[in-house]
Symmetry: C2
Subunit: 434 residues, 2 copies
Amino acid sequence: MGIVVQKYGGSSVADAAGIKRVAQRIVATKKAGNDVVVVVSAMGDTTDELIDLANEVSPLPPARELDMLLTAGERISMAVLAMAIQNLGQEARSFTGSQAGVITDAEHGRAKIIDVTPGRIQAALADGAVAIVAGFQGVSQTTKDITTLGRGGSDTTAVALAVAIDAEVCEIYSDVDGIFTADPRVEPRARKVPRISYEETLEMAAQGAKILHLRCVEYARRYDMPIHVRSSFSQKEGTWVVRAEDVSAGGAQGTEEAGSTMEAAIITGVAHDSSQAKITIVGVPDKPGEAAAIFRTVADAQINIDMIVQNISAAATGRTDISFTLPRGEGQTAMAALAGMQDQVGYESLQYDDSVGKVSVVGAGMSTSPGISARFFEALSEAGVNIQMISTSEIRVSVVVTEAQVVQAVNAAHAVFDLGSDEIEAVVYGGTGR
Amino acid sequence: MGIVVQKYGGSSVADAAGIKRVAQRIVATKKAGNDVVVVVSAMGDTTDELIDLANEVSPLPPARELDMLLTAGERISMAVLAMAIQNLGQEARSFTGSQAGVITDAEHGRAKIIDVTPGRIQAALADGAVAIVAGFQGVSQTTKDITTLGRGGSDTTAVALAVAIDAEVCEIYSDVDGIFTADPRVEPRARKVPRISYEETLEMAAQGAKILHLRCVEYARRYDMPIHVRSSFSQKEGTWVVRAEDVSAGGAQGTEEAGSTMEAAIITGVAHDSSQAKITIVGVPDKPGEAAAIFRTVADAQINIDMIVQNISAAATGRTDISFTLPRGEGQTAMAALAGMQDQVGYESLQYDDSVGKVSVVGAGMSTSPGISARFFEALSEAGVNIQMISTSEIRVSVVVTEAQVVQAVNAAHAVFDLGSDEIEAVVYGGTGR
């Protein structure tokens, strides 16, 4: 066998009992003949508790020190996990991001990995030890300060290490059994997907599915590192994230055990995001540069815009309406920034709707199967769901609907594309890790 | 002004409020024109909580991983302290022991500092920042693993850094106002000592006074670094630990502000230790090598022996009794080790008394003042205290008494050497830090 990288999220190592359970799984993987590198997140709510502590002494904690503080979380979990593994008779050594050679830029709180120099990890493996690495953290190449990678950072650490040490697979453990055709909490008939392409996973993640983070999947796609998403609470096979050509082939990367789908489904899954808001700028003068000025203002306010729709202008008035969606938490900031430029742009008014949601169907087969949008919209219509905005990519169709109708829309889409299983197989165990 | 090193123990930074209070003191020191380096312990009970966590997964946590785990404690306190200082408008940067250049041997859990390379600390000071350094920890020169220095480690870090950056003084903050003529909880008339020599401090510490740890004082004496022991809860001048010649002179090291004692007292203070046990080996054959064999056995069991008394052997039997004291927590281990060698040594029996204490009078003036022991023993006799064992050094006389009479013995010694003040000035705020 070869090298296996396993990443365990905070919910898998929430307490001593969880750490012991994970330790047994790691030792079993090692005993099966693999070299094992483990990337671990902070225990349970540790990170949130540390942020609370920081806020007790500083309303806006300086980024360098916040990174120093938060990295204590993984330091605790990795050391305790190494102890638990050694208590089972298996040598194990923990390493900080810096010790593991995770070299980043100096952007505290959202650092990018620019190099991985895993010499100490490889030495530990050569000694027969399991290497435990702190997720989410690295060291700046220029300042030598400790950095953190931001949300999803531990997943990214795992994939980057897997690439650097030429692992066979990067296993990402959480408290759900894999990637599902829809969120099992919303769609009871959701079915686990045995294999999915990097591209579909990226679209699912971008559209609100919470299994994997964008950066981790992008990294894996760039270096063609297979990811196996699975639950640390069961022994079930999870979901393999692989190259598009390996999805329908069902071969390669040891996926033969999973019942292989002989024919690729057109639609892989339904993603939804219920935390969106919509801003409409009414009566914008229809002349060049107006939209650019508006979105420059919003970008300068550090707002992440998602979908944008501009109506055709009414010939009589020479004015148009522009709508866009954004994360609800950023709504007030965006409204304030836009209000400040009313005189400059000369629009008529602003409308804010903080109860919208987005529902997307994603599938690599879509690009060669006409009529997907039509079937999706008909299903929504039959379910009584009103569409407010539409956007599409090559392998995705998204609609914005009122928040109250998000679940109906997910269920309708799931049914019309025949994604459901006959029995309920999803088990969701709790929150998700970092 | 020059460079000041300040060390704050766990009780001074037990919570966010404590950290803010300490931050204000640090900023005031900086504003007074000093360059400031701060060494900080883990917050409150953090270290004990981390040890509990380790014991939940492993009955005997491996030392390398325990060090990795425990160093998370200082990482948290130093980052939060740096945030609190920056929130007051003063630039501050936190550094791990490794980043601060604290190089140690590879003895996990009790590493010795072998070098300090404070380049990053000096760079931070040159930038006008306060440098915050994690106490208690370093990095092994050979293995590059994280190490801890053991009990009293943060004090040692502070003195070692002060020496390495040529500081004017090393201030050690805790929750008591300085070094007292006796423990204020036992002797209400205990008086704060304005100045004390390194040698007297070592004797006081070795005999149970809990203000400073032996290693820290030894390091300060070797490099002649003045230590100012004071409380982080008040602005009062504390106790200066300096060279013997600077104690009576009252000069040097900025101690002029303190009311200088024009004449050195003969006795500086009374130390006590109520956590002792006594073992007596009855009927040891009085021939060469017996005592050596006994204490080799005890040493091999990692027992720290304190005082040893051997009676003159009775001519009739050719046998003698040997008694020694040791920390109470190690009593059972020692008894087991000794019981295992009864046949080899041929002693008659073992006696174990786990309710003894030690009371010591310490003073540099003792070596030139005859009759100190006699006055001490007379005072004990008048107080009805029975002496079980006696040991002396050049500047110390210690007696072992029954634990129930320790307080009476301290009070009697304090009175006979006229150490008390007319009013109660000691304030004790809580537990002590690491």
